[in-house]
């Protein structure tokens, strides 16, 4: 058999072995066997010295070509085997991705706190300061400075937890306004504030009454504040809390500390140009008005120069309306199943 023939035979046998190999180890052996120093190709090349000089280049080239072919084939086979091994590994690692993730621990802010912080952020954006005050108040600030002298019939509107003749659990956060008003230096600019916090009423707890609830009251005093400004501000609040497609309406009401006084209703559903007035369901959400001159005067502010508006709203009521919470006591029982429901962010 000529060397050339032998090389051809080697090629057929070797390629068949490479093709048949089924593991990396097997393939390594094949590589050593065929391409190693003791392998048949090396042997052929060694045997070239016995060839006629004219034949040498032809056989040499052929042998080299065979070596390259086998190297290439082994490389390809290796890649195929690696791919198969990877595929097998991946197949083995396949999981049920529909199983639930591992629970992470996350706490939620109370739904009332969320509403209060939302409002705080909105009013900060409109240049308001946030002011807190004492929850145990003086009658002086809770009532008298709010234009509710002793024996004023409107005191009956708010059943009060008294502590002594002069001290009480505040029934509203408006005393904070009186306190801030008397401190404010109007030469440094207008007063724009809200006061959020807990308030107390001498009520029996039931689905719609709570002896403790929350209020956010607002006050703006400057030289040129109009009732139109009040309307615009409250519309902005309604949009923030209920959505930009809701509308508000003002109805006459009475609060001793404002004149004129209004109740503000917000539409339950969206209101567009096409909505008929009789189809709008109005929900009472807050009280407001233009600050009574007596309130300003008692705080040492000249009502002939300064004026403005005040409003008060109840986060509890907002939360009940917004989320359909049917019982106000839910906010204070802190059932974990209740607290965890209000987990929407952003």
């Amino acid at each position: 058999m000529s060397l050339a023939e032998k090389l051809d035979q080697l090629r057929v046998t070797a390629l068949a072995e490479i093709s048949a190999s089924d593991s990396q180890a097997d393939l390594n052996q094949i590589r050593v066997k065929w391409l190693g120093k003791k392998g048949p190709i090396t042997e052929v090349l060694r045997g070239m010295k016995d060839l006629a000089p004219a034949e040498r280049p032809t056989i040499g080239a052929k042998a080299n070509e065979l070596r390259d072919t086998l190297t290439q084939a082994i490389g390809d086979k290796q890649a195929t085997l690696a791919a198969a091994a990877l595929a097998a590994q991946l197949a083995g690692e396949t999981i049920d991705v529909t199983l639930p993730g591992k629970p992470v621990v996350q706490g939620q802010p109370h739904v009332l706190q969320q509403i209060i912080e939302d409002l705080e952020d909105q009013f900060i954006g409109m240049g308001y300061q946030i002011v807190e005050g004492p929850e145990v108040e003086q009658d002086e600030y809770n009532f008298k400075r709010m234009n509710l002298p002793e024996d004023h019939p409107a005191r009956d509107m708010q059943d009060t937890f008294y502590i002594s003749k002069s001290l009480l659990m505040r029934t509203q956060t408006s005393p904070v306004q009186a306190r801030t008003l008397e401190q404010h230096d109007f030469s440094k600019g207008p007063l724009k504030m809200i006061s959020p916090g807990r308030v107390y009423r001498r009520d029996t707890d039931d689905a719609t009454h709570s002896h403790q609830f929350h209020q956010v009251e607002g006050l703006v005093i400057d030289k040129h504040i109009t009732m139109g400004d009040l309307k615009g501000t409250l519309l902005a609040v309604a949009h923030q809390l209920f959505g930009a497609d809701h509308d508000i309406r003002l109805r006459p009401s009475y609060f001793p500390f404002t004149e004129p006084s209004v109740e503000v209703d917000v539409s339950w559903g969206p209101v567009t140009d096409q909505t008929k007035p009789e189809d709008i369901d109005w929900i009472e959400v807050l009280g407001a008005g233009m600050v009574h001159p007596n309130v300003l005067r008692m705080a040492g502010v000249d009502p002939d120069v300064y004026g403005g508006f005040a409003f008060g709203l109840g986060p509890d009521r907002f939360a009940m309306l917004k989320h359909g919470v049917e019982d106000i006591r839910n906010f204070y029982l802190n059932d974990i199943r209740f607290l965890k429901q209000f987990d929407q962010k952003g």
Binding site: P109, G125, Q129, E137, H224, R251, P252, D335, I336, L339
Partner: protein, 806 residues
């Protein structure tokens, strides 16, 4: 106040439907609490006459009647009414009719006898029990003979009884007491509809005998600025005519007798409470208004024996108390069926005293409500005269000549000046002088306008609530319409909004805890005295309510933990055992009756059950002291506190003596952490619970570190482990402090990685293992550097803690 639309139509032409009127009133004047048609869906209820009454063969309590209902043939009706009798004019609900509460009436047999409908009582056709006349409580309604004459069998009984009427329930605010009368409401609705109301008229005929000869009256001006009486002799007390009765029950008032009904009619018409005394039962022929002494005895019309408080206003005769003036009459001089002579009283009483008496006696009557809020002083004696005229007409009384007057305060109509510019300035509108003038015209307020835009408005007595220019601005705004106001935002000098440092701190404390898995609770700040005393960081005195509403909420809390434990108990009772709750709120420390208490912002949290709950591939982990401590440590780190010490405290009441630590920042006690004492947990009906409480107000006053940047060393760090055997009561904090004190400049961090007590060490010892990390920002450390530091540490531990370094 309920307003009958039929009655209101006597004053004004009302052409719009009731619901449209209600909407206008709500948008312009006062809230509408409810609006309904008295007849509801009732039908086929007619006037009928009883032709015959025969016994029922099979029943003792039923009778068989033949009834003329205006049809060709009489109808047979079986009834159980005890008061049915031949010749009566009654109300029949015919076959196919609907009576009150949507009840349908059908032909049927009662014990074998056909009945073609039902004879009804007023209560069965929608007139409230409390309003139906008492003498028909037990039986069917029977018209009195005088009224019956004009009634025709078969005609619509609902019309006759005044039930084809719409009622508006007005929610009247304290400033609009003028609308607690039909006259006042008519003025208001007139302004809304731009109509002038026609007010009721009357003619009074007096006898020649002067009333002043029959009675004397005395009243001090400070208690009764207006006080007058009339005397009506020879009245015939009887039921009122139908027109008056139906007017009262439509408005929600029970007809009693003509004398009483007339005073009530005047109350509703003028808003002026009147009172009728039985003249012959007066102890003396004189009435004196005076302030009560404490504990004078008086039985009121409702039969209750009451005692006065000093300062209540009394009407007396021969110094005997007859009534709580302006609140409720007395039984001793009540008008009865036997009454022949009547003293009618009209007065204005001092509102504060009325308010006190009504509150003290828990007697909030129609009268007291009005006196507290004010009445129209121009109508006081008009109502008195009108009542006398009606008694003459309805009870055939003889009105003695003249009023007998003790006080007669005269109303001085105030003039209020306001410019259109000011109105526009406040409302943000662009109203003209003409528009504003039209609004005052509609309200019926006389005014003058000067050359410019200045109105001088005269306020009639019926609108005593209007006192200052701002009140006039409200009148203009509401009649003009709040819907018409522009919608703008304040313009003017810029103001900066933002949170204060404290507000940032409080928010951060909440947000950090939420990130660590704690849910925010908001609990009641008022609690029981026993609970208020518990878990105080440092002793505080709770603020005590004067008149608590319930046992559970009597005093302010002294800690937040106590509230959170209530929450835990509630959750456990509802099978919720895994709880991580926190609350941020105030704790109160009383400083006396006239001084505001100190209010401190606190933060507290509790853990019970599992924090990390079980899932399909991991087990739930029980919480313990260190779970909660990790949260608190992270919180304190995030809030910028570095000098934190946990010091075991065995003495905290209600806390586990072996699992409680006080928390110090530097040398300041700011709170504590630990397990709730098992005994206390049992009191609250809760399981093993861990809690912490921090005084944020105290913390705010302490130094805090902001974030600062340390260059991360380019050089490798070296770690060394240190295992020690120390006395069992040596704390990790002691060891750590020594390591840090002697670790040198390169000691970067120390962590505990093992704690062991048990068989492998002596019983009074424990083994602690620490990992120390050294790094230099400037150079690669060599063993020699570290060894020197470790030697110093070892020496200190051996010398100061008698530690065996292993």
């Amino acid at each position: 106040m309920n307003v009958s639309l039929n009655w209101l139509r006597d004053y004004l032409p009302i052409t719009i439907p009731a619901n449209e009127l209600a909407e206008k009133i709500a948008r312009t004047a006062v809230e509408i609490d409810d609006q309904y048609h008295l007849a509801g869906d009732m039908k086929k209820i007619v006037i009928a006459r009883v032709l015959s009454v025969e016994p029922h063969p099979d029943s003792d309590h039923l009778v068989i009647t033949q009834i003329d209902a205006g049809e060709d043939e009489p109808l047979q009706i079986v009834t159980g009414a005890p008061n049915v009798a031949v010749g009566q004019t009654v109300v029949l609900a015919k076959h196919g009719s609907t009576v009150g509460d949507h009840k349908k009436i059908r032909r049927g047999k009662l014990r074998g006898e056909v009945s073609n409908g039902m004879l009804v009582a007023l209560q069965e056709i929608g007139i409230d029990d409390k309003v139906s006349p008492k003498n028909f409580e037990e039986g069917i309604w029977v018209f009195n003979e005088a009224d019956a004459k004009s009634l025709v069998p078969g005609e619509d009984a609902l019309t006759v009884l005044g039930l084809r009427d719409d009622i508006l329930e007005l929610g009247i605010t304290p400033n609009r007491a003028d609308m607690l009368s039909m006259n006042g409401t008519a003025w208001e609705v007139g302004a809304i509809l731009d109509e002038v109301p026609t007010l009721p008229q009357f003619e009074l005929t007096e006898s020649s005998v002067p009333a002043a000869e029959a009675i004397k009256v005395t009243a001090p001006a400070d208690l009764a600025p207006k006080y007058g009486v009339r005397v009506v002799k020879n009245v015939k007390v009887a039921d009122s005519p139908l027109w008056l009765q139906r007017r009262l029950w439509a408005m929600g008032i029970r007809p009693i007798s003509n004398v009483v009904d007339v005073t009530n009619l005047m109350l509703l018409t003028y808003g002026q409470p009147l009172h009728a005394f039985d003249y012959d039962r007066l102890p003396a022929k004189e009435l004196t208004v005076r302030a009560a002494e404490a504990n004078e005895e008086l039985t009121t019309l409702d039969g209750v024996e009451r005692r006065t408080q000093a300062g209540d206003i009394l009407v007396t005769s021969a110094n005997q108390p007859l009534m709580f003036a302006g609140v409720m009459g007395g039984a001793s001089t009540e008008v009865t069926a036997e009454t022949e002579n009547v003293v009618l009283e009209a007065a204005i009483f001092e509102p504060k005293a009325i308010r006190h008496a009504a509150r003290d006696q828990n007697l909030h009557s129609e009268a007291s409500q009005r006196f507290e809020r004010g009445v129209n002083v121009d109508d006081t004696f008009k109502a008195l005269d009108h009542a006398a005229a009606l008694l003459a007409e309805l009870a055939q009384g003889e009105v003695l000549a003249g009023r007998v007057i003790a006080q007669d305060y005269a109303y001085q109509a105030p003039s209020i000046a306001i410019t259109v510019a000011k109105i526009n300035h406040v409302l943000g509108t662009d109203l003209t002088v003409e528009t504003v003038g039209t609004i005052f015209d509609r309200l019926g307020f006389p005014y003058q306008v000067d050359a410019g835009d200045r109105f001088t408005v005269t306020i009639p007595a019926r609108r005593w609530d209007i006192k200052i220019p701002a009140d006039l601005i409200e009148e203009v705004a509401r009649i003009y319409g709040y819907d018409e106001l522009p919608t703008t935002l304040p313009v003017g000098e810029m103001t900066m909004g933002g949170l204060t440092g404290k507000q940032h701190f409080l928010r951060a404390s909440r947000h950090v805890l939420e990130g660590l898995g704690m849910n925010q609770a908001i609990s009641y700040a008022l609690t029981t005295p026993a609970k208020a005393a518990r878990f105080q960081i440092t002793p505080v005195t709770p603020v005590v309510l004067d008149y608590p509403m319930s046992q559970d909420h009597q005093v302010t809390r002294g800690s937040l933990i106590t509230s959170l434990l209530d929450d835990v108990a509630y959750n456990l009772a509802h099978k919720q055992a895994d709880l991580a709750l926190y609350e941020q709120g105030r704790v109160f420390d009383a400083k006396g009756d006239d001084t505001l208490p100190e209010e401190r912002e606190h933060l507290a949290g509790i853990l019970t059950g599992h924090l990390q709950t079980a899932s399909w591939d991991q087990k739930a982990q029980d919480v313990d002291f260190f779970t909660l401590k990790g949260i608190v440590e992270q919180l304190l780190t995030n809030l910028g506190f570095t000098d934190v010490h946990f010091v075991a405290n065995r003495e905290r009441p209600d806390m586990h003596p072996g699992q409680t630590a006080d928390i110090f920042l530097g040398s300041t006690l700011v709170g504590f952490i630990g397990q709730i004492h098992p005994q206390t947990a049992q009191d609250y009906r809760i399981k093993q619970t861990f809690a912490f409480e921090l005084d944020l107000t105290a913390m705010l006053a302490l130094p805090r570190e902001g974030d600062h940047y340390d260059v991360i060393s380019r050089f490798p760090s070296i770690s060394r482990d240190l295992a020690l055997l120390v006395d069992r009561d040596t704390t990790s904090a002691d060891v750590l402090a020594l390591i840090k004190a002697h670790g040198g400049a390169y000691l970067k961090s120390v962590t505990v990685f093992d704690v062991y007590t048990g068989d492998k060490v002596p019983a009074d010892k424990k083994s602690l293992a620490y990992s120390l990390t050294f790094v230099s920002p400037e150079t690669t450390l060599v063993d020699a550097d570290i060894n020197a530091a470790m030697d110093r540490i070892n020496q200190a531990l051996v010398e100061q803690l008698a530690a065996q370094v292993r």
